[in-house]
Amino acid sequence: MTTMTRLLPHPILSLTLTGLWLLLVNSITPGQIVLGLLLGWMIPLLTLRFWPEVVTIRKPFTLLRYVGLLLWDIIVANFTVARLILGDLDRLKPIFIQLPLSLTSDLAISLLASSITLTPGTVSAKLSEDRRYLLVHALNEADPDTLIATIKQRYERPLQEIFE
């Protein structure tokens, strides 16, 4: 372990904490920036044991594109769900599907599960013990295979490119 990684074990976490601090105090004065940087440096050191995995972002631009895609899908998802809720409830066909996972890292799996929950008509319900399947509940879906293919292609592949 080099001195650099010992002093600054999680650079991304430190930056995020600094940003959060500046948002929380709602001002960008030099003093607050210094305090934010100090907090961003201290907190990861004090909570080192809670972060066993070191996060590496391989493709920052893919991540940005993924966030954009996700925001768009969240808005679309809301109109879909609103239509389903206001429409005829007897015609809804809810199903459970098993989504086989190719992701392995903790962070990528939890991001995928959260993305699935926030996007059209699906909620992730349970991760299997061996971490190879995710149980997903869909509000109204006629064809499970298309849904699995869409999720894998749209969300899982970019996450795999970014984190693994």
Binding site: L20, L23, L24, V25, N26, S27, I74, I75, A77, N78, V81, A82, L84, I85, L86, L89, L92, P94, I95, F96, I97, Q98, A113, S114, S115, T117, L118, G121, V123, S124, A125, K126, S128, E129, Y133, L135, H137, A138, L139
Partner: protein
């Protein structure tokens, strides 16, 4: 112009919040009810918070971005609580209109016996 933007954001937010709770009231089983609050309410409140950020940025001196903090927090926590609630419901074997894939039922029995093992 600003007033129209604010009115639009506030109305969208309120309508989606309303629809989320309507889903909670109307839908027929627990897993379906989960969809309403996690999606519609989250976006509705997010939209209201952005309206508030826009309003206070123009109202007081200086921009006000700390509402973004709550929005971010809600968008991160909503899927987590939904996932935990779904897990709890599966654990309690709540009735569902959706059919369960056969393999996962076995898995669930195994994992619930695991949970009992852990407890003792």
């Amino acid at each position: 112009m600003l007033e129209y933007l604010l009115s639009f954001l506030i109305l969208t937010g309120a309508i989606f919040t309303f629809i989320g709770s309507l889903g909670l009231l109307r839908l027929r089983d627990f897993y379906m009810r989960l969809h309403g609050p996690t999606k519609a309410t989250t976006l509705g409140v997010g939209s209201l918070l952005i309206a508030s950020a826009v309003f206070f940025s123009n109202h007081d001196a200086g921009i006000s971005l700390h509402e973004i903090l709550i929005t971010l927090f809600l968008f991160i926590t909503a899927p987590v609580s939904a996932h935990l609630l779904a897990k709890a419901a599966l654990h309690l074997n709540l009735h569902s209109f959706a059919k369960m894939p056969v393999k996962s039922i076995k898995e669930k029995e195994r994992s619930s016996s695991d949970a009992i093992d852990v407890k003792h």
